[in-house]
Symmetry: C2
Subunit: 300 residues, 2 copies
């Protein structure tokens, strides 16, 4: 496939197809659809064991395996791509299942050092490795900005003044822990922090609220409290934007919270129509809030 580039700026979309390395879940397809709608061809590179086999039928795709970076690079170049989006779930895979090719083997000491540095280092490091091999790692939100939650409410429910106070508290907490390369979410009810996300992920954190409530350790009533979610400060957004989907809404409702606030422009929504339908049905709000704690506090 011919590469037609406009080196004068980013205003004109490049004609080369976009490579999408696909982990699990619906996000890779949301990105592929958005890129396609914008007139850009896509080639999918689904990861064995993670990507959704059935959903792939609609797109040109080449299966890839973890640990085969040399082969992946060759496949991407053979497909005429240079821009690469890496998206979808990929929980810590078992190292035993990974068979390494030579290119990956050479990168191992570096990857090992990145692993020790925490998620932020790992993911930015992967970005650098792609660049050095003639590929360009781009954020899903750059090729498909409509997948980001915008400012304002989605759906028909809106936060109360009390909810706004909880949102401000949650955003401030997330800002405070940002330097520690830790989770990107917290649950706050009546200004009390009920849960802080670290390695367990947002879903498990919300399930914990359900358990705490059953144990009588949540003082606030059902319908009070918010899940707050944002990108970490300094997070490399090309490879690790937080995301929400209909199951997030279900878990927010099951946890007895009033709603979900994300920082506008920092969180991906995989299936917006399904998220809005789920939120409206469950009676919870979904809102994108200002990008600084100050903005949020002013709304409260």
């Amino acid at each position: 496939m011919a590469t037609i580039e406009d080196r004068g700026g980013q205003a004109r979309a490049t004609a080369e197809p976009l490579a999408i390395i696909c982990g699990g879940g619906p996000l890779p397809f949301a990105v592929a659809d958005a890129a396609t709608r914008s007139g850009r061809a896509v080639v999918m590179f689904p990861i064995e064991g993670w990507a959704d086999r059935a959903a792939l039928a609609r797109y040109p795709h080449h299966w890839i395996a973890l640990g085969r970076f040399g082969r992946l690079r060759a496949q991407i170049r053979a497909a005429g791509c240079r821009d690469v989006v890496f998206i979808g779930t990929l929980l810590r895979p078992s190292l035993r299942e990974i068979r390494l090719d030579w290119a990956t083997l050479r990168l191992l000491p570096r990857i090992y050092r990145m692993f020790r540095g925490g998620d932020d280092h790992l993911l930015s490091g992967i970005g650098s490795i792609f660049e050095e091999h003639g590929l360009r790692l781009v954020g899903a939100h750059e090729v498909a900005p409509e997948i980001l939650v915008p400012a304002g409410t989605l759906g028909r429910h809106a936060p109360s003044a009390r909810d706004h106070a909880d949102i401000a508290q949650g955003i401030a907490l997330i800002d405070a822990i940002g330097p520690f390369d830790v989770g990107q979410a917290a649950v706050v009810a009546e200004r009390r922090v009920l849960a802080v996300e670290a390695a367990e992920g947002t879903d498990a954190m919300l399930d914990r609220i359900v358990a705490l409530r059953e144990q009588g350790r949540v003082r606030s009533a059902r319908g009070v409290g918010v899940l707050v979610k944002a990108a970490k400060p300094g997070q490399d957004r090309r490879v690790d934007l937080p995301s929400i989907g209909p199951t997030t809404i279900e878990r927010v409702a099951a946890a007895g919270l009033a709603g979900l606030a994300v920082r506008a422009g920092e969180v991906i929504v995989a299936e917006p129509a399904a998220v809005i339908a789920a939120a409206d049905a469950a009676g919870v709000f979904v809102i994108g809030v200002g990008t600084s704690a100050e903005d949020t506090a002013q709304r409260a």
Copy 2:
């Protein structure tokens, strides 16, 4: 019982007996024993449904019920006490089980406001209420300083340089979230924050590490990583010092961590001999570290 006070200073112990309001667990008895050893009489006020009935036989005691503050105050004064220690576990009790007396009823609007303000407000508020009623709320560590974990290692295992780096990271994280009236503990492994404690408590947080490890979501090997625990900055230490016991050690070991670091002088150890025996047997370290993140970093 006559009150003999030395108003000139704290050097001489007062002769009035110490009132100990007892929640669950072994801590009330550790404090009672330490106070008794220091020559001070104690009268226990065990809370129905929480305090350990069998262990109480050794001490003069009067059962009390939650929600009966007027009656409690009368009982404490009738026993000739003025200084009151409030210690032991008391998970959020079910409001339905609490029958209020008039004194408590009058305090309710104030207690409700304190509840909304988070743990710190609640507990300091209770301290003020005691003072206004002619009682003096004192910290368990003031009457029994030996129950606090001192600086240095307990038992025969010591942290490695890597463990010290994890400890410094954990202490810094706890300092950062201090203003949010949130948990007092975190788990850090190879400088990656695996868990942050909020409403679930330390035991549940450690159990989470076991589950994350089973799911392959903990990258560090067994024997790597630390539990770090400290009092919150600004926490009212008279009513809410964090504590560790033998079960904490068992959970640290089960979570596959190298050990446990607490800020020296800020954390109660209920049964030090049992904690040391458990730590030595499990091969984990227990250490009291400097009271600021800077001190800890210097050790690392």
